[in-house]
Each structure stands twice: as C-alpha cells, then as structure tokens.
C-alpha cells in the first residue's frame, strides 16, 4: 500500500517536470534561454517515470533493471545534444552580441576558423 503511494508520487513528479520542460520551451523568449528548460526538466522527468516503472516491477511483477540503461543513456547524451544546439545558436549569431570577450589571440572555438574555411551562417535555413 505504502509502495503504491510512493509510485504514484514519483509518477506525478515525473509527469510534472516533463510538462514544465515543454512549457519552458514555449514560454521563454530568447533562444539560449529556451535551451535550459527541456534539456534538464525532461531528463529528470523521464528519469522519475523510469524509476516509478522500476519500483512497480519490483513490487508487483518480476524484478527488472533495464530501465537503468535508458536512464543512464539519457543522462549521458543530454549534455552533448544541449552543447551542440548551443553551438548552433552561437554559429548563427542568435544571441551572441553579448558574448564575453577573451584575451587577445584566442576566440570562442565555434567562431574560430581559418579565414578560408569560415562557413557563414546561411540565411536560407530556417
């Protein structure tokens, strides 16, 4: 009985955080700010849902652990995709006017390319 209450609480927490991630994606105004909401809220949300499913399997069905695999995979890949999307924003100068300056001779890696290899952000992609 107590374990059911625990499962319900974790399920609701997971659904809530997944929803908050998407609400943030829709509500926030600048592209970089939008990056914050889904990459994290969703990972914790899906993590909680998987945890609830695992507890339920141990309590009511045959024990199962492979939810851990999905969880670990999501937690490892979320920062990498977030980093790639941030690089896209920097490359397309979406929010970049205020990038902090660096000491002379270095440049942020995404903007730093030899002049002949520089790829300008194309206007065609939308």
């Amino acid at each position: 009985m107590l374990i059911n209450v625990l499962i319900v609480v974790i399920l609701i927490i997971g659904a809530f955080f997944t929803l908050v991630g998407s609400v943030g994606l829709l509500k926030l105004k600048s592209p970089m700010a939008r990056l914050h909401a889904p990459t994290k809220a969703s990972t914790l949300g899906v993590g909680s849902l998987l945890l609830a499913s695992m507890i339920d399997a141990f309590a009511h069905r045959e024990p199962s652990l492979h939810e851990v695999l999905v969880m670990a995979f999501l937690f490892v890949t979320a920062p990498i995709s977030a980093n790639f999307i941030a690089k896209v924003h920097i490359h397309r100068r979406s929010n970049v006017d205020a990038l902090p300056p660096l000491p002379e001779g270095t440049e942020w890696a995404t903007l730093d390319a030899p002049p002949d290899q520089k790829i300008e952000p194309s206007e065609g992609l939308r």
Binding site: L28, H66, I80, A86, H89, P100, T106, A109
Partner: protein, 167 residues
C-alpha cells in the same frame, strides 16, 4: 611480461566491465549464460577497437567518483525545483540571463568533459563553448543577477573536486 600480455588481452578493463554489465541489463537477467556471453563480448570488442583508441584514459579513484556522482544527482534534483519555479512564476521581463566566462584550472580533456556535462545537467546553467586554446569555458545562465557568484560556485563546488580526483 605478464603485464604486457594483460595489456594486450584487456586494453580497456573498465570498458570490459561496462560491456558485461550492459549486456546483463539488456537481457534483464543475471544468469551464467548472460555473464559468459557478456564476457565474450567484453573481451572481443575492446580488442577489435583498440587500434582506434590507443591511450587508456586514467580512471580516477572509484570511491571519490561515486561521491561526486551522488553530489551531482542531489544538485540536479534541488536545482530542477528552482528552475521549475523560475519557469512557471517569473515573467520574461524579470529574467536576467547572462553569459558567464569560467577560467579553467583543469587541463585533462576527460576532466573538462565531465565538468561541462555537470554544468549542463545542473539546471540553470548550460555549458556552450570552449575557447580555442581550451583554457576558458563559456556558460549560459538562465537567471543570474550576479554572474560572478555563478562562476565562483561552479569553481568551488565542482571544479575543485574534479581537480582532486584527476590531478
């Protein structure tokens, strides 16, 4: 000599262990069959892929790494609640997003990767870019009235621990 053979057979011991565990989890059983087949995969895959991966990355003390993982997991939970409050109850006009520049003391690529991943997973901050000489990290903070405080917290809470673990 024995050390040489050992290195030839098991170029990446942690990868072998990881493959056995992942195979058991995929099968969802911990029986002799799964462990033996996982061990075969764990021996063959590192041996076949070893030429593409010549250096063995140094593995820091497992115990310290475990403590670090639990600290980060706790921070993820706490900070998620904070960010959910910001998203739901703060108007867009009140939000003070800021770019933060973090000078790095870490030099090993593995340590910098773990630091950047930690910064992204703890909500409120996303690591966006590295300077071209790899000594500065660019971080975007969702709501930071005081960017210097964000920088100091990251440096004292995560980077100091990683420096102890890796160097």
């Amino acid at each position: 000599m024995t050390r040489h053979i050992f290195k030839r057979l098991l170029p990446h011991p942690m990868l072998t262990l990881l493959l056995v565990v992942v195979w058991c989890l995929l099968n969802n059983t911990i029986g002799p069959g799964a462990i033996v087949f996982g061990a075969i995969l764990g021996l063959v895959i590192p041996a076949v892929t070893a030429p593409y991966w010549p250096d063995r990355p140094s593995v820091p003390q497992p115990w310290g790494m475990l403590v670090y993982i639990f600290i980060v997991l706790w921070d993820i939970i706490v900070a998620n609640v904070v960010v959910a409050r910001i998203i739901l109850f703060k108007s867009n006009a009140d939000m003070k997003s800021a770019w933060v520049r973090i000078p790095l003391d870490l030099r090993k690529p593995e340590a910098i990767t773990i630091l950047a991943g930690t910064i992204t997973l703890t909500p409120g901050t996303v690591s966006a870019d590295l300077s071209s000489d790899g000594t500065e990290l660019l971080v975007h903070a969702l709501h930071a009235p005081d960017p210097d405080a964000v920088r100091d917290e990251i440096k004292s809470r995560y980077e100091r621990r990683l420096k102890e673990l890796f160097e």
